[in-house]
Symmetry: C2
Amino acid sequence: MPSPIYALPKQVLIREDGPREGFQMQQQSYPTASKVELIDRLSQTGVSSIEITSFVRPDRVPQLADAEAVIEAFTPKVGVRYRALYLNQKGLLRALASPKLAPEGYVLIAASEEFLKRNNNQTLTEAIDQLASWISTFKAHQLPFERVMLSTAFGDSYSGRIETHLVLGLAKRIINRCQEFGLVPAEFTFADTTGHGNPESVKRLVGGFSEVWPEIAVGLHLHDTRGTGMANVYAGLEMGVARFDCSVGGLGGCPFAVGAAGNVPTEDVAFMCAELGIATGIDLKKYLEVAQFAEQLIGRPLPGKLKQAGLL
Amino acid sequence: MPSPIYALPKQVLIREDGPREGFQMQQQSYPTASKVELIDRLSQTGVSSIEITSFVRPDRVPQLADAEAVIEAFTPKVGVRYRALYLNQKGLLRALASPKLAPEGYVLIAASEEFLKRNNNQTLTEAIDQLASWISTFKAHQLPFERVMLSTAFGDSYSGRIETHLVLGLAKRIINRCQEFGLVPAEFTFADTTGHGNPESVKRLVGGFSEVWPEIAVGLHLHDTRGTGMANVYAGLEMGVARFDCSVGGLGGCPFAVGAAGNVPTEDVAFMCAELGIATGIDLKKYLEVAQFAEQLIGRPLPGKLKQAGLL
């Protein structure tokens, strides 16, 4: 097979993760009604996929203990896909039980073994062994296997930077195992969880992956922890990446936790795409208003730039 | 001549403009001693060029009325070049009169005629006609003609986006006139003054310029007004650009003026360069401390990311 020639995509899918990312690490709790208003406002912006909450243990993340209440209260809009984060199959079953959600069939694995141990309490081998069980659950519920979310794909604070070939080696183990069970993910989403990625490492990883598995789409989930977020988005676009997880206003992270920053701001990414002639389906004017609302809601300045400067 | 092949530079010159950019648009005035402390701290970071103040009319920019007092009080470090902004030849003469400064011979022109009129009270034709007088002053003081600073090189709020060919046409007029007077600038610095640039327009302008004038270096002066700043830096690096005007912490702009944002944060740019294997001479650990100091000094959160997250 010849090497691929990369070009900017004509259109990209922007997935809005703000309502989930924005509240999970806050020290205070926010009213359910505020979260619902944020979701309902996002539904009017043209964004087609919104992660509205997370099914996590209320004793560990009390900020998201109102997950079912949020789902109950928001007003779904036709054409918008509403998702929830889950970390285990119990969470997936909760998501499947909500008729207002259209959950993705995905598996979350971390490239950093230490990160995986601390956050998911499992080893990489255990995570890979569990693929069989995930895939059988997807099959049982006729859920497409939409993506593998590979967090800390560029490194983390335990392991430092992770070299590209190690991540590609892990991808190979994961994909081989998936093939054994007859269901291969449609997408690999590489997450820069902690700002260890840079534009060249993004290019190496995306290019190295697409060279071997051109039939699997690549997504990027980039936290702007150390200022390279938007450059990493652009590097992804240069490699033809057309799926980005973003966060309205740059919601996420925690002002009190060192190294915890939100995703790249949705409206800044959508603006850059528009300037580059890439369609996103997003109404920027409306998004700016929601970003300003998110900032008021959270009660501190959010990093998104466009909401301050306005459109051209 | 064959087309150039672009590659990331091995090293870049980072010029620190924060002490000048940081105070000119603030509503309040800051103590001279604080400005001096910022400069003295920056002198210890390994950065080799610092713009410490601006020779402007005290009645128009009272925040910088202490320019001479700042120059008097700061402690120069051997190996660091201290500069001051000037907008006219009277300002240049004030800069030349300060033995602690090593002013650049430069001419400031705007690509947007309306911007030039409002900020410099002249037309483009008048600005180009004045090149003769500038060049004769440079010659009289044996000052090298170091650069043309072309502000609003990607557009501004009066003209909107400015097409690349128009900027290249203006560059041609400027360079032709300089050649008539026998002194050509060593560098063209393209400034994105108001966030109208994007990574592809940066590439078009840098590439289009370097194709015609490969012997003239390109610099970039990028304000991060709409979130594309760091992506624009990366696009510049991809085109081999090796000179960037930055601002510690992202100092600059004004929290009350819509569309007025600081330059790309020096430490974030230097960090990205370091991650890309590009030398800057900057001690990142020390720079982070100065960025934190700048934030305390200015009394509001500055946009730089690395100072919050810390080094890897």
